[in-house]
Amino acid sequence: MLEEVSAVDQGDMIINIGPQHPSTHGVLQLVVTLNGETIKKVEPHLGFIHRSIEKMCESLTYRQFIYVTSRMDYLSSHINNHGCALCVEKGMQIEIPDRAKVIRVLMDELTRIASHELWWGAMAMDLGAFTPFFLSFRERETITDIMEDTCGARLTMNYIVPGGVMAELHPDFQKKVKAFIKLFREKADQYNELVTGNIIFQSRMKNVGVLSKEDAISYGCTGPTARGSGVNCDIRKLYPYEIYDQLKFDEVIETGCDSFSRYLVRVKEMYQSISIIEQLIDNIPEGDFQAKTKAVLKLPKGEFYTRVETARGELGVYIVSEGATTPYRIKFRSPGFSNLSALNHMAKGGKIGDLVAMMGTLDLVIPDIDR
């Protein structure tokens, strides 16, 4: 009824969300065209954190450039490192020891949980509930402690290096991880009660930001964003790397296509990751944690592309080598970039309050998008 009315009213208003805005999780600028409170168009403006990482990497050696990638998608820094290390190893044809593989996978999955925990809290905060944020950080803090023990840093690890991992696991690692699993299993249900079942949360997320399967593919969405729309795109299943093909876990797929199913995918993924960790934690093979590699790495001439599944989706690392110690050109295909491009499509017709829910369930990390 009111639609016809609003078509005549020139009540269009353009408002900026970002670069400094609590719900953009960083410095993303969204120029939103509103009619009343209904979104007509969302135009993302990027580059507020464009750090020219790709250019920088052209002058860093193969050992050095990995550390910058921890700063790209800093919430899954291990997985970023992993992707780069894999690409270098592929080029060098290094076979890494089993122990390193298992450690890498363990770290990846811990990172994934940490990332999803943070997302969970931050998203709840976006929707206006503050307490979940604090609760989720408690678990995250446990993971960071584990990481810190072994990798020596809390966020930007730089632990996975070409040829394996940088250091041996901390002696307490297994014990702490088991404690964490226990804690997680204990607390996660409480959170489901606090957030997932909550009527307000559900009504804020259901039927919001609908992205159909076809659209998700066309927009190149990956990761939980696409899996919430029923696309199976888990690199760990489709193109298994390391030892993922020997592990038992499910690719979580929801077909609701809305924010709530994206939410569910992430929540369920945490449980999957926990189960992966449980499978591995007692079976870490003995052996070296690093393959013998030369001090200076030189990739042969050619092009190498690897992809890994970060907490946000598919990270592609594309290295063009000219046979020097530094890459000739390096390109990171970041999941957030493609996922963001679907935002306008998703947001159309929603309310401005929905935008927050959409942004929340897209789980954007802006430096990952801008690089």
């Binding site: 009824m1 009111l2 009213d9 020139q10 400094q20 009343g36 409170e37 209904t38």
Partner: protein
Amino acid sequence: MGSASMIVLIISAIVFAVGGILVSKLLFKKHNSVVKGEAYECGVPTIGKSWVQFNVGYYLFALIFLIFDVELVFLYPWAVVAKSVGWLALVEIIIFMFILFVGFLYAHKKGALKWM
């Protein structure tokens, strides 16, 4: 103390508010810049006019509210005596409310109570 207290309260409120603003003006030495005065919009200059035209949808809320507000006003004297008047009061108010409820349903039906 009666209505005098109202005056006292108004005066003290004004003293409090205006006094607070004045004190802060006095204590703070100002230095200005042009950008400072500009409207805040997440750190970028405002796009377009700050004034925006709203949708009629908003206005309908105020409108329906106004009607119900008047109804509410009539309910107050009714409520005070309802107990003593008895069933008659209930009957009258049911008629009264019913008529308005019809209007309410109409508004609902027409979608006037949808926020745009």
